[in-house]
Symmetry: D2
Subunit: 373 residues, 4 copies
């Protein structure tokens, strides 16, 4: 018996379908999951293009939901303490932190764990047990993975439609908490930007301005709770965007600006949009895109807080699930946001679709009939 | 009857002694103070050199203590509610915020008040009532000034020896609170850097490394509570300093790094010294010294908090006085830190001494006999 | 020319309509307002019954909106900096804090100001200028009152329908901030309890259980965002209510419990409903209703935070107005919540209606034709 | 080969010396420690007297330091990541939290862990492997124990002299952080009260008043940093104590009052000592000593925060060790605070000495020659 997976063998090369041996006897705590749906994250595109250092060959896919096929030991509890059973629909935090290092233990910053490893990113698929990414029929979860049983009311589509963008935005919101009634400007309407709108709304922002594009992304932002949107195609200069944004949040700037663009130039524009004494959240700079000219005098004079946030912890997955559980409308929007579905055999096309930013969310359905899309 | 003051008539030109009319009948809330001691702040040097925009002519001096000569109304209370009397030894917050604008009222950031004015900085001495700076025999305080009666145990020398550097450091500590036991690296051993050491010590830092020079400033840092000092003359490269600093605070970097240098390059060095998830306080960038190349990816990846702090509020003066009141040793150190005293007639020399960074603190004693120093 | 007002001359006695002289020349900062609507707050009933110490005779009414008739000086700005004009529709913070005492200045707790005075509560109507309460055709606002120009989109009915309960709940939420996604139990469905539901919802609570009654109040709670309600008539024992509440928030209790009942027994019940390490907000104990038996061991062992909050500050009025401005649905609900309207001449009946807890909010329309209700 | 331990077989009965089999092959992560010194905590007296529920028979002792004799696996790291070796001098957090339950994981309150077990408290000594308390020649630490290698500069005497009172006070300080310069009143001068003085001093309190007795405890409080002490024998009424305390901290009360008495009546006295808007920390109510009459109106009107804190986490042990490492003077004081040392054979006398509150700290030296004291 064997398991099929889409493998990245070389940067910018098409993913290839390969087969791996079905895992044998599982060790205690290990869980074998049959993958229902694997989201394609913007990071996957970066990984594919070789913009971040990862081992090759590699089975990508770190936004995944599926069903438990086998467990290495029982009873096994999910992260919330719910007993797991074969057949349960589950998702999991993509990274495992050690829980023991300086950052995990003393500084409570597990996202900076010194030995953190992420499914779909950090594992070489030529090393046994191979199946450590979501673009595959099955994935083998290590003992210690933060697994979450998905509530019946939450569809896997809504969860993967939200993706790791939502958990990332939730973590950022925790690091830079809004005061209730704060005004917020979100720079960027990619997945993280939209998720930042969702979270700012849920956390009590009074006004939310989303700056980005193209138009269908701005419509999504409005649907997710933005008070106003600014189309960078219509207002191509920072000055014009500033003027439009301040008309909504007031002349002094926003209480919080959340950068979700990724291009480093957005940082200087964002700082201008922020009121004195406000918070500027640098959330989009996941990849090292180089230097910008920057004037640190601004930090002192505007009396700013500039806050970084990296990835997320299991409890942010917990919150994402709870948010979806509580808000049916949100689930429907994230489900509807999935515009492209591919079978595993077309993983390369799926990645290319995501790269071309063609629509909404692209996903792979590894165990669906090869007639999808 | 007339009042003598040292006036800045043109940038980089020597201060000139001029006489102004003694104020007549005071309005309610106004207080006329006979100046005992006026500190020369590093900012005064910047002002003298024309590096910040101020009106001319100008009576400099924003670190001042003196005795009440007349009051426009009685009873008048000091900021803490203590009744003031003629003859009382007093100091005051150098700036007056309006208390009513967006920043004062709604955002509680009075240091960013839209109409804030500072004695010794914002007033043109050719406009009546002229006497709005400390380099003068007398200063006329506006109604609404946050005046503090100085406790008997606190000498005016210790207070002006500490200067506005101490209140500035206290404000920064409030904006970026230490967790008890945190490790701290202070970049710079000018007045603000030394004050940052004092405050970090008082606020419970477990290790404090001061990076700066020259040697006599490092000795002061040790006296004020630094666990270790790094001489930039001995370790001229950022790499060497980093290695030395991390030996004290641990290999991951300090929990908090406080930039008190003013040169923008210190910012990139400071961020490297900060542990992931730590706080980087940008406190020294009071003047606009231009751009640096900066990589915002660092903020996201290191999950930092970068915190600016501007000036101080009256309550920070209150705290500074209380700190000196509680710690006799600290008073003695700040008193001893005054190495140069000049009569008013030598205000130009005083400013030049401060500019040459010749020793410790330089002060003017406007009402002392012309034989000082 | 004279001004009519309803005056409380003796506790438990009917309010009597009296006339007072129209104020003459206004002092700078004073504002004379023609009252459109004055809410009857539960506190007014307590005042009427003599349960709180106030001077008599007294014009009650501390929830008021009206139109500016005259101003003692111009330009006069409202609290947000908007210029005020005759005819503007306004409301104001009912209390004036001194801004200078120990609590106002040093501890930033102006609700504990040592000389705080409230319209409709602290002023004797036999002392000139008499008109210091809302149950009157006109009210004379002192200089220094935090006046707010009401945005066009916000009806005075919605604002007074929300009343000081909303600002009180907003202050409490500031003192005991929710973490986004927290579960909340609100004890009591009087005006403060309902407002606590509104604020918890706006601040990002994931589940809100309201415990109270009667049924029409519980329906309001559901309309305002409660996830579930518990009728104390149906579940008369604390044990039954606890079981029902924990079914919603989970077996360990709620992250935050907000006591809005007023009866001291609610405190012990609320502490039981709170999870270990959670927050218990004591918001309803405005009147001194005496002792309860209490076991302080619970505080230590459950590792609780028990948080008190008293009244509100002008910025909470600001937030209340912004909240209403942003949420049309909320405005409609508060407007609909006004079930009884009385002319000034029937102020005694109005108070009695509020005392009997007959319906929703009761208001007085002092300048309406005497045919109201 | 066998191991001797002092066993509590019945409440209020003398501890009896018994022998247990030397543990055999250790499991991975287990550590066998030869006990150098075991502190007698006030809780041990409560346990002895049967005031808390524990299994019998029981080897008491949860404040312990010793040397590693054997390890079940290598390399084994201490909590800070330092490799452990046979012969290392170590201490450890007395409790093990599961890390997986609702409180450990989701609420980050591991002191409220649902399955927490403490050495010297929760284990029945008749169950193998028996050696789970500090009053013994050896103690067998479970895998997962938070072990700390003690730095060479920190004597075991200073660490056990400080005891779990210090870590308890550190946890409380984390839950109720002082603002720098706050005034503090500590109620009680038992071990926890003295530790609260130490921590308040280290955390930046400006004034610390300790209320307690007898005189030698008050002298210790002064030595540890109290600004003033109040002897309950000299001022037997709450009113007199209040007057004396407010003379030091100011007429409005202290910013923070820390109850470390244990008698529930201290709670009402402490609340009176607290300024409006201040923090009241209920730290001493570890045992359930019953109800007091309590008026919850005070919480609302004084706008208080009442904060409980239970036990401590491993990171508080880390901080305690760092505090001692940084302050030689503190080490000397805690060493000098040990006034009674007993061999293991006199454990019953040791416990009785502690119960009689005869002097300072009492300790057992299980492996010392039987000639101690």
């Amino acid at each position: 018996m064997s398991v099929r997976a889409a493998v990245l063998n070389g940067f910018e090369q098409p993913l290839l379908l390969e087969t791996f041996p079905e895992p044998g006897q599982l060790a205690p705590g290990e869980v074998l999951v049959s993958v229902d749906i694997a989201g394609i994250c913007g990071t996957d595109v970066h990984l594919w293009l070789g913009q971040l250092r990862i081992p090759l060959p590699n089975i990508l896919g770190h936004e995944t939901a599926g069903r438990i096929e086998r467990m290495g030991s029982e009873p096994l509890l999910d992260w919330r303490g719910t007993p797991l059973q074969v057949g349960d629909r589950v998702t999991w935090a993509s990274s495992i932190s050690c829980g023991e290092c300086y950052y995990c233990r003393m500084k409570k910053q597990p996202t900076r764990c010194l030995t953190r490893k992420a499914y779909g990113i950090s594992y070489c698929s030529s090393d046994a047990p191979h199946l450590r990414g979501g673009y595959a029929e099955k994935i083998l979860l290590r003992a210690g993975t933060a697994i979450f049983r998905i509530p019946d009311s939450v569809s896997s589509e809504s969860l993967i439609g939200a993706g790791c963008a939502l958990t990332t935005a939730i973590h950022a919101s925790e690091r830079a908490p809004l005061e209730w009634g704060d005004t917020v400007i979100v720079q960027g309407t990619g997945p993280v930007g939209l998720a930042a709108v969702v979270v700012a709304k849920a956390a009590g922002a009074s006004k939310i301005v989303a700056i980005g594009g193209p138009k269908h992304r701005l419509d999504l932002a409005l649907g997710f709770g933005a008070s106003a949107v600014i189309d960078i195609a219509e207002l191509p200069t920072a000055e014009a965007r500033q003027q439009a944004a301040l008309e909504v949040v007031g002349p002094h700037g926003a209480d919080q600006v959340i950068e979700c663009v990724g291009h480093p130039d957005a940082v200087n524009e964002g700082i201008v949009l922020c009121r004195d004494g406000g918070q500027f959240v640098v959330l989009g700079q996941y990849a090292d895109a180089g230097n910008i000219p920057f004037n640190p005098h601004t930090i002192t004079r505007k009396q700013l807080r500039v806050i970084g946030s990296w990835g997320f912890e299991p409890r942010h997955v917990d919150r994402a699930i709870r948010l979806l559980e509580n808000e049916p409308g949100l689930r429907a929007k994230f489900e509807a946001g999935i515009t492209h579905k591919f079978p595993l055999g077309q993983a390369a096309e799926a990645l290319d679709t995501a790269r071309r930013w063609a629509g909404g969310k692209t996903v792979i359905l590894p165990n669906a009939e090869e007639t999808a899309n």
